[in-house]
């Protein structure tokens, strides 16, 4: 899945291959009425890396993620994805280009079982038409079972076999977060977006989640973009970090570079260290 970017990537200290540029955000500006949520931000995401976006509350991180996943359309700037400028698309079309995400406030389908929730993640791997489905003809039932097997692998991977058939509404918070990750993974995305995957978790759950994020990246080489509040976690997990404040980018680089950046220390670490 290498692309047209000039830079061919590198190998990290722990031996993972980081590829060329997968997605490039160019001069993105997003406004809601008079409020500027994102102001002229540019950065790129490389194949195979864990890229973090951090910043204090209201810095515009979630808006940025919403721009990447196509839910918000920026007034200015462009998104270059796999070497091409991405036209204005509906969110479901963006999802079909291989971008999957989780949500800050869990957005699982409460009325469905864990299994069904994860199966929805695979919907664009299934193409049986209405009539094939209605009569459960060849393709429909074959697809269903092939995809079920893929989903079972993810269920095993995330260690949620025991709650397979449980309605999501009955799950505790931490497990819901994990099911949401499973649903996103089921799509076999090129880029995985995680919106505060560890918000509201206790230390143990955070460790579990970190392990899963790293394992996913290791195992499938999935390019991961995550937003996080918890500085420590971010620094351990990510290859490169974008720091935002008041809708502007104030830092971009490896965790070490960012940690030593004057402006970042002033704006983020010094002020809103919680």
């Amino acid at each position: 899945m290498r692309d047209t970017a000039t830079d061919e990537g590198y190998v990290t200290a722990d031996g993972r291959k980081i590829g060329g540029v997968a997605m490039e955000m160019k001069n993105i500006t997003l406004r809601f009425g008079g409020v500027v949520a994102i102001k002229d931000i540019s950065f790129d995401i490389r194949w195979g890396e864990v890229r973090a976006i951090i910043g204090p509350n209201g810095a515009g991180k979630s808006s940025m993620l919403n721009v990447i996943s196509g839910f918000y359309h920026p007034q200015e700037g462009e998104v270059i994805y796999k070497g091409y400028r991405r036209p204005k698309m509906r969110p479901y079309q963006v999802a079909r280009t291989g971008i999957a995400r989780t949500f800050q406030n869990i957005a699982l389908f409460e009325g469905m079982s864990v299994l069904d929730n994860i199966m929805t993640g695979r919907l664009h791997h299934m193409s049986a038409n209405l009539f094939q489905q209605a009569f459960w003809l060849g393709k429909a039932s074959r697809e269903e079972h092939e995809n079920r097997e893929k989903v079972e692998k993810i269920i095993d991977f995330l260690e949620i076999q025991h709650i397979r058939k449980t309605p999501v509404a009955r799950l505790p918070y931490g497990l819901k977060k994990r099911v949401e990750l499973a649903r996103a993974l089921a799509a076999e995305p090129s880029i995985l977006l995680l919106d505060e995957p560890m918000a509201g978790m206790n230390v143990e759950e955070k460790e579990d989640m970190s392990r899963f994020i790293l394992d996913v990246n290791d195992e499938f080489g999935t390019t991961t973009v995550l937003i996080e509040h918890d500085m420590g976690v971010v620094m351990d997990l990510s290859d490169r970090v974008v720091v935002m404040d008041y809708g502007k980018k104030i830092g971009d680089g490896t965790p070490d570079e960012v940690r030593n950046n004057e402006e970042v220390i002033k704006a983020y670490l010094g002020v809103a260290h919680d």
């Binding site: 809601f32 919403n66 839910f71 949500f103 800050q104 406030n105 957005a107």
Partner: protein, 328 residues
């Protein structure tokens, strides 16, 4: 002046007065929606129920007499006295307040935090229940309602328009009164919500449930209050419609007409309810007037809904509603 134009003008005027009636029902919807986010489908049946109760009190009917007769073989019917209107109206108001308390106690309290669609379906259930109760309590036959409002053709309007155009418009005096009473009702509701403590609490709840709760507003009290006010508005609407065309089941169907009114006006705006009511009233009369020769009559049955449907496609939040921003 050509006749068509004159007839169209008359249709417009009639539409305006009909629109006031729609607006009256829509007003009840808006009140409840603002305070509790519930789309009260039962508003029309509440108007029917209120009118039935009023007639029942006036004529001294014994409530549930049919049921009692059937169960015990008695022949109860009337108490044998007539209650004066001035006494019957406050008595009906008391009944509507009681109804509000019961609704809060037995329904709303148990449905807090449910999805709007469930609440909506619950009010459909309430509508059926109330309709059944009203029929059993007072009997289902068509009843005449007379609270002493003047009826019949307004000579003043007839004369005035005859002097102007050489053609007298027909307007029912009852409808002129209805317009006046609606105006008074809206004015007093506005004064109530702006200048009284309960009114402020009501607006606070409408604005933000959680915030209102946290400063000590009792949500349950507010619900009883709004449902009581909506009950009183329903009574007024019931009196108007009942005086015009008798108290009967079709009265509850006007509630359905109020839905498109709300779509046009926006669900949270009192002026919107009135303007929406007038637009629909005038619109359906004029549409019928011009289209009848081409596609046949009785277009009033659907015109309002179709108008609302078209409107929804272009401006889902209504004329006065606020724009909805979606978030994740």
């Amino acid at each position: 002046m050509p006749d068509t134009l004159l007839f169209a003008m008359e249709a417009t005027l009639n539409g305006l007065t009909a629109g006031v009636m729609y607006a009256l029902v829509a007003l009840g919807f808006v009140l409840i929606f603002k305070a509790s986010g519930i789309f009260n489908f039962a508003q029309g049946v509440m108007a029917l129920f209120a009118a039935l109760t009023l007639v029942g009190f006036q004529s001294g009917q014994i409530p549930f007499s049919h049921l009692i007769n059937a169960m015990f073989g008695t022949r109860l019917h009337h108490f044998g006295w007539n209650m004066p209107t001035l006494l019957a109206i406050p008595a009906t108001v008391v009944v509507m307040i009681l109804l509000a308390i019961l609704v809060e106690r037995f329904i709303l309290k148990h449905l807090v935090n449910q999805e709007p669609i469930i609440l909506f379906m619950a009010t459909i259930g309430l509508a059926y229940f109330l309709e059944g109760v009203g029929d059993i309590m007072w009997g289902a036959e068509v009843k005449a309602l007379d609270v002493g409002l003047p009826k019949g053709m307004s000579m003043a309007v007839d004369e005035m328009t005859f002097n102007w155009f050489g053609y007298g418009f027909y307007i029912d005096r009852l409808e002129l009164w209805a317009a006046g009473i609606a105006a008074i009702l809206v004015a007093s509701l506005t004064i109530f919500s702006q200048y009284t403590k309960q009114g402020r609490a009501l607006r606070a709840v409408a604005d933000d449930h959680q915030a209102a709760l946290s400063v000590g507003v009792s949500l349950r009290f507010i619900w009883v209050l709004t449902w009581s006010i909506a009950g009183i508005v329903a009574l007024v609407a019931g009196i108007m419609w009942g005086s015009k065309s008798g108290v009967q089941f079709s009265l509850s169907l006007i509630a359905l007409k109020a839905l498109p009114v709300l779509i046009l006006g926006g669900f949270t705006s009192i002026p919107g309810a009135i303007v929406g009511g007038l637009i629909i009233g005038v619109g359906e009369k004029l549409f019928d007037f011009f289209m009848q020769p081409i596609i046949g009559g009785a277009t009033e049955n659907w015109f309002a809904y179709m108008l609302a449907l078209v409107f929804l496609l272009f401006r889902p939040q209504g004329l006065f509603g606020e724009r909805i921003i979606e978030r994740v």
